[in-house]
Amino acid sequence: MAVLKALFQRKLALLGLIVITVVVLAAIFAPWIAPFPPEVQLDDGLDDLGAPLGPTAKYLLGTDTLGRDLLSRLIYGAQATLIVSLLANGIAVLFGTFVGVAAGYLRGWTGAVLMRMTDLMTAFPAVLLAILLATMFHQGIWIVALIISLVNWVQVARVVYTQTTSLAEQEFITAEKSLGAGFGRILLRHILPHLVPTIIVYGTLGIATTSLTEATLSFLGVGVQPPTPSWGNMSNENAAYFQTAPWLVFFPGGCIALLALSFNLVGDALRDILDPTLRGRH
């Protein structure tokens, strides 16, 4: 609660929170908000020459190259974009935390092998690896989310590892062990609670990264597949027309930027609030 209050007091973070709320609500209530069905090619959606329409009173943000209402597609596109970026980051944080805790607590051979795995992953150019996997197995937004999480868990694992090793050396953990506490108790009572701030911060900041990765993959045609609209693949579909109908690229691209910026603003603020060691330094 104190955290939320502190968050509300920061103007930029509050702004980010509002944007995120609006996008989430738009995604949930899309069927009720969207003025037109997203995949229908409207009869008067193109002009006499077959070109997309600019913003008009009827089509607030204009129509796309197939004569579909852009605003409706943006509202529906929020669904795929949000599902993929939230899911991908959720998996990445979960897996990263698991690897980090395991490596940091167990140390020894297991820890060394796990941490060398993270070294290996950092040597891979993340987006290229995602492109490679997505080109090989492109079907469905769940696979896309899984692939994105695969290239984004490393950073969480590293931070959690560092924190867990320093926690595991603390005297209260040794005391707890000498009292006969098992691994499970130490993990649940002492290690995980200390990791909560880190998990919250990466749970937020990471979404900015995963949503940008989704946008890149979908823009290259290997992310969310049409006809399901996502902000990334909408930019891809209309990219060829950016000179005559720039809004078709700039509106979906701008939505991605706004969403990523919002998660970055909220995540940055959360880091300042939750991690006192960083306070005032950044």
Binding site: P125, V127, S235, F242, F250, A257, A260, L261, R281
Partner: protein, 305 residues
């Protein structure tokens, strides 16, 4: 010396790990490479012959050994579609990408380091806050959006710069600026916190107490020390650029390995994407190694451990 050796072995191990993963990915490919090479009209026995020729009937460790031996000779396999060696395709397009990367690094350092330093010196002023929000803004932009925005304003609307292509300095400006603006956001944030850290040091206070001019303190004492942590980042940057150029080269029609990758994506030409990924992974490992080896030369306080 021991450090350098250990670091070299470490890099080698990582490269072996990278090759194991790419080998595993090749193996997970849904289509049968023997069938691919033999062609659609081949009979089952012909496919088996090809399989034998390619060594695909050998046990896994033997296949991996062959794979490594080929890689060691710079053989990245053949493109499915273009029927040429992937290494030749990449080699022909590498210079264009390196030029773009060089331009991008110059742009991002100029933008990021200047803004980061000034923001740190004017900490908590309007400029600082504005610059940091601006940096976060660019960090949050999808690459294609920045690319198309610059292309629209300077290419289509003002008509100052060419819309796409390759061959002159004017062609380089927009793609390099696209990557430079995005990377510059990161550098501005890093340079700011690094400079703030330096400003707190005792030697800066001493310099002030000696009555040195502000310009001299900043240029001689603050900036060079603030730059040190940044050098390691330039090594890490290679990975970021390798991903960024796929989007930026396809937006600007820049004939580098990014565009090659983009074309390969559209034709599902896995060997090319795999080759580019391998080359990029090697570049990243080398970049990190180089950054680690150069850092102590610049700053003797960093001990080789």
């Amino acid at each position: 010396m021991g450090y350098i050796l250990r670091r070299l072995i470490q890099s080698l191990l990582i490269l072996i790990g990278v090759s194991i993963i790419t080998f595993a990915i090749l193996f997970a490919l849904p289509n049968d490479p023997a069938r691919q090479v033999a062609g659609r009209t081949a009979s089952p026995s012909q496919v088996e012959d090809v399989r034998h020729q390619l060594g695909l009937d050998l046990p896994l460790p033997a296949q991996y050994a062959r794979y490594i031996a080929k890689l060691a000779h710079g053989d990245l396999g053949r493109s499915y579609i273009q029927r040429t060696q992937v290494s030749e395709l990449i080699g022909a397009r590498l210079p264009a990408s390196l030029l773009l990367m060089l331009g991008a690094i110059v742009c991002e350092l100029l933008i990021g380091l200047t803004i980061g330093t000034v923001a740190a010196l004017r900490r908590n002023t309007g400029f600082d806050q504005g610059a940091m929000v601006g940096a976060l803004f660019f960090v949050s932009m999808p690459q294609f959006l920045v690319g198309y925005a610059l292309l629209y304003v300077f290419g289509a609307w003002l008509g100052w710069l060419p819309l796409s292509g390759y061959g002159s300095f004017r062609h380089l400006i927009l793609p390099a600026l696209t990557l430079g603006l995005l990377g510059g956001g990161w550098y501005a944030r890093m340079m700011r916190s690094s400079t703030i850290e330096v400003l707190r040091q005792d030697y800066v206070r001493t310099a002030r107490a000696k009555g040195l001019s502000r310009a001299r303190i900043v240029l001689v004492h603050v900036v060079p020390n603030g730059l040190l942590p940044i050098i390691a980042m330039i090594g890490l940057d290679i990975g970021y650029f390798m991903s960024g150029i796929v989007v930026v080269e396809s937006v600007f029609g820049w004939p580098g390995i990014g565009q090659l990758t983009w074309q390969a994506i559209n034709q599902i030409d896995i060997p090319i994407i795999m080759g580019v990924t391998l080359v990029a992974a090697c570049a990243i490992v080398l970049g990190n190694l180089l950054a680690d080896l150069v850092a102590p030369l610049i700053d003797p306080r960093i001990k080789l451990k």
